[in-house]
């Protein structure tokens, strides 16, 4: 019996507001414990929540970017449970009436190609705090800096079938939220978190199997690994003739396996009910329109434009639009250039290669887009050749000097003078009669020997486009 995995993902994305969702405390990460707190977010008696409308605007943006239908009236509910990181004893969340529903995200995987994943809903909620366990004195401490930080939870339909698709969905969503500038996407700091619901069913069967929920998936790689592991685990259990237990399982990235965290019988009854401290959230057409006006070009739109406007391949356009800063860098670079394909290659191999090696992101690049563009212009003008340009690029990285300065200081201008090069080629043939004879006798591989000699004599500055026909004709 062939089993088909059914996967749904729940993503918690922290909204990039300056202040928390129901009070004026800062959301800045990395402050000392409980520095970002006030009576409201620490659940003091008598205080009341006041909704941060910037958070709503960000949620609307996310809804528009995922094609969701935005509710004219949504509501905040209370999710009741006791835990020391939850100061009020309830979390304010949108349960019964979320701000947005019925969206979708288009993904592409190597194996399954293009596919649309449905988005069930997007709702707003507040984050909880953090417990810090002190092993020495066997006690726990509470840090409420994160309490009340605004989140959106984006729930997918159970449309995902493979770990690869789950990875593609998450990467796409991650890119999208960063593009529209509502989430910084920092997974280590917990700004983008994912839970996965997984079940298996015999292929062709409509009814879902019993699912497990995976938590603690804090990187794209872990999501895919954990899902693969869980699919295999469930398949093994089913093939043994046993049944899956509905439970929450925790991914252990060190042991590379999932382990049961709590069963269904330990599941909380959250006793949701409408929060009487907050009136219904009304989002009218004017609000939606004003947010729509702020929407930047989305990744898919940008990719299509890159293909049409710059005649780039699908692959190149996909890479270059995979993050907004990179796309902006690229567009800045190609201003005034004519060979866009060359610029794309340089960006993807030389520039990104350097950044990857240094562990930097594009915004931290030691080479600015303007300087990078100047370098490419020098190649286009044939002022330097490609090989020299690599050399200049390396010096740009280490010295931060402009490419012109580097070229001038090191006398790297390309030698393109035809008569000067002809003289040199004649001289080299004359000085190497054996090699010349061998070439003429059919050993055409020796072409590179002569090219090497020319480059050696010009310290790599000769224009190969001139030298190549010269060598061939003279020999």
């Amino acid at each position: 019996m062939e089993l088909e995995p059914v996967i749904g993902l729940e993503v918690h994305a922290q909204l990039k507001t300056k202040t928390k969702i129901f009070c004026n405390c800062s959301t800045q990460f990395g402050r000392s414990p409980n520095e970002n707190t006030c009576p409201v977010c620490t659940g003091m008696p008598g205080v009341l929540p006041v909704l941060n409308f910037q958070a709503v605007t960000f949620a609307i943006k996310a809804a528009l970017a995922t094609g969701c239908k935005i509710a004219r009236e949504s509501r905040f509910d209370r999710k009741n449970y006791f835990y020391p990181d939850l100061p009020k004893g309830y979390q304010i969340s949108q349960y019964a009436a979320p701000i947005a529903e019925h969206g979708h995200l288009d993904i592409e995987t190597q194996k399954n190609g293009a596919k649309t994943i449905g988005i069930t809903r997007i709702h707003m909620e507040e984050d909880a705090g953090k417990l810090i366990h002190d092993p020495v004195r066997a006690r726990s401490m509470v840090d409420l800096n994160r309490t009340g930080v605004p989140l959106i939870e984006i729930v997918s339909e159970p449309d995902i079938r493979t770990a690869e698709e789950a990875g593609a969905y998450l990467r796409k969503l991650h890119t999208l939220l960063k593009y529209i500038d509502v989430c910084d996407g920092n997974m280590e700091e917990g700004s983008f978190r994912c839970d996965a619901n997984i079940s298996l069913r015999p292929r062709g069967q409509e009814k879902f199997g019993t699912r497990t929920e995976l938590k603690n998936l804090n990187s794209f790689k872990n999501v895919e690994k954990a899902i693969r592991y869980e699919i295999d685990r469930q398949a093994y259990v089913l093939e043994e003739g046993k049944s899956i237990i509905q439970e929450t399982r925790l991914w252990d990235p060190n042991k590379n396996k999932t382990a049961s965290m709590r069963g269904k019988e330990d599941a909380h009854d959250y006793r949701y009910f409408p929060d009487p401290d907050l009136p219904p959230l009304i989002v009218d057409e004017t609000w939606i329109q004003s947010v729509a006006k702020l929407m930047p070009e989305l990744p898919d739109q940008k990719m299509v434009r890159f293909i049409e406007q710059f005649q780039l391949s699908v692959y190149d356009a996909t890479v270059l639009t995979s993050n907004l800063d990179l796309a902006d860098y690229f567009e800045e670079t190609i201003k005034g250039l004519s060979d866009i394909k060359q610029a794309a290659n340089w960006t993807m191999t030389t520039l990104l290669g350097m950044l990857n090696a240094k562990g930097l992101n594009i915004t931290q690049s030691p080479v600015t887009a303007t300087a990078f563009s100047t370098l490419l212009k020098l190649i286009e003008k044939k002022a330097i050749n490609a090989k020299t340009a690599k050399n200049v690029f390396e010096q740009m990285v280490s010295s931060c000097k402009t490419p012109e300065t580097i070229v001038k200081e090191n006398g790297l201008e390309q030698v393109s003078d035809h008569s000067q090069l002809e003289e040199l080629v004649d001289k080299i043939i004359l000085e190497n009669p054996d090699e010349a004879a061998a070439y003429r006798g059919g050993k055409t591989k020796l072409f590179s020997f002569f090219m090497g000699q020319v480059m050696k004599n010009t310290r790599g500055k000769a224009d190969p486009k001139i030298v190549t026909p010269l060598i061939k004709s003279k020999l």
Binding site: V50, P87, Y272, P276
Partner: protein, 488 residues
């Protein structure tokens, strides 16, 4: 001059004319509290030095001539309102020695005027009760008859005003907690429209029903207090962004109430167990209003019979969630012997909350549980909608609704404590106003044969406190109760 007999309006007049100073007025009231509050038990906390310092500051402001309406006027606050730097107990052990770092918005408004906060008054724990017997600290006695309760939950505030310990007080009302003790203590109590007064700093019992309001010696003082406390507050999302009128404009001497219509709900008079004394005072009040030119019409509030049941689902549901924050983790009392988290929660909350609060938390938790939500919270919410509709229909026929406040005068201390259901039923005339979010005013209307005060209630449509104050003021002047204060 007996300074303690002054109403807020009289005190304001004398203070602004420099005939008395706030320090002497405050001292006179503090002396009276010293003398009698051991017997009455109106206050949980009296901060003498703080009160006198505030009085001194008020006098300095008056001397400069830039006094505000409440400058120098001594006020008492129900101990459910947060006061910066002054212990706020909510009548509960669970708050321990909790001292807020912030003032409730209404308290901040009083302080901005340089009013004097005499102290914090006793209450049923977290506002849950109708007799002030559910306080963790003390019982409060009715100043008219010390073996009777003052009503509740704002019993301390009502008793303090009746005993002339303060010029006026603030209470809170979730199902009658201002109006019922005002009736039992022979003072004026007004529950404003939901959203009129900011709830910021009011420790929530049932957020969708709670409202802060004045408890005063007369209707004029209630209007004066309303002018101070009503406003939109950005810190309370449920506070209304409506225009606040000058409420004292509703008060005109010798004005006729000609043209006003008062509705008497048929269903209210059919309620079982209305004390004959209450009934006859109500009839008398009706005649007084008729003599003032008010036309009396019979109206119907057909869903009245479901109000108590629905209320005692909704209020506990909200309470069970609102009181979850009292968990021993960040502030207040904590059981320190517990070995693990769950035990700490259980012991802290079992020891910290009194039996009535625990009862309501359990009812609310149960009613919100999976599988019960629709049957309880859902249906109770539907009843609430129906009751609200009843009222809006009724106000097509009349300007205000006239009713008793409570079925009986104050009962004896301990008389009802073993029977919560009877206690709950005594809220029948008041809690509908909270369900519908409409304002309700209690004005003293007479005395029972045993000499206990009895008030009448007037309710108007949302944001129409002006009609209540106008009718209440006219009624109060026409009735002219001579013996309006008890002899201690």
């Amino acid at each position: 001059m007996d300074l303690h007999t002054l109403t807020m309006a009289q005190a304001q007049d004398l203070l602004s004319r420099g005939e008395i100073c706030s320090v002497e007025l405050t001292q006179a009231l503090l002396d009276r509290i010293d003398l009698y509050d051991d017997r009455i038990g109106a206050f949980i906390t009296v901060d003498k030095s703080c009160a006198l310092a505030q009085a001194k500051a008020a006098d300095e402001r008056i001397a400069k001539g830039d006094n505000a309406p409440f400058t120098g006027i001594p006020i008492a606050l129900k101990d459910l309102l947060c006061t910066k730097g002054i212990k706020t107990t909510c009548g509960s052990k669970i708050l321990g020695d909790f001292v807020p770092q912030y003032d409730a918005t209404v308290v901040a408004k009083l302080k901005k005027d340089n009013a004097v906060v005499l102290g914090k008054t006793n209450l049923d724990e977290f506002g849950m009760g109708s007799s002030t017997e559910n306080s963790a600290f003390k019982i409060t006695r009715n100043p008219w008859s010390e073996d009777h309760v003052p009503g509740g939950s704002s019993g301390g505030s009502a008793a303090a005003v009746a005993a002339q310990f303060c010029c006026g007080a603030l209470g809170t009302d979730t199902g009658g907690s201002i109006r019922q003790p005002a009736s039992h203590c022979g003072v004026v109590g007004l529950k404003p429209t939901y959203g009129r007064v900011s709830r910021f700093g009011l420790v929530s019992y049932a957020s969708s029903l709670d409202q802060i309001g004045p408890i005063t010696r007369d209707v004029r003082d209630a209007a004066m207090m309303m002018n101070l406390i009503c406003s939109h507050d950005p810190k309370d999302s449920t506070s209304a962004g409506v225009q606040v009128p000058d409420f004292t404009k509703a008060l005109k001497e010798n004005q006729s109430l000609e043209g006003m219509k008062a509705g008497i709900p048929r269903e209210y008079l059919e309620v079982e167990g209305i004390d004959p004394g209450v009934r006859s005072i109500f009839e008398q009040a009706r005649k007084v209003l008729e003599n003032l030119g008010v036309e009396i019409v019979e109206i119907s509030l057909p869903h009245t019979q479901y109000a108590v049941a629905a209320y005692y689902i909704l209020a506990p549901c909200e309470a069970s969630s609102n009181l979850a924050r009292f968990d021993g983790v960040r502030y207040g009392a904590r059981d320190s012997d517990s070995q693990d988290l769950l035990e700490m929660y259980k012991k802290t909350r079992s020891q910290g909350f009194g039996p009535e609060v625990q009862r309501r938390i359990i009812i609310g938790t149960y009613a919100l549980s999976a599988g019960y939500y629709d049957a309880y919270y859902g249906r109770a919410s539907q009843v609430r909608t129906l009751i609200t509709k009843d009222f809006s229909k009724a106000f097509d026929q009349c300007d205000f609704i006239l009713s008793p406040v409570a079925p009986t005068p104050a009962f004896k201390i301990g008389e009802n404590t073993k029977d919560p259901l009877t206690m709950y039923l005594s809220d029948i005339f008041t809690l509908s106003a909270n369900m519908a979010g409409i304002p309700g005013l209690c004005v003293p209307a007479g005395f029972s044969p045993k000499g206990l005060p009895v008030g009448i209630q007037m309710m108007a449509k949302r944001f129409d406190e002006m009609s209540l104050l106008r009718a209440g003021f006219g009624f109060e002047r026409a009735l002219d109760l001579k013996t309006s204060f008890p002899v201690l």
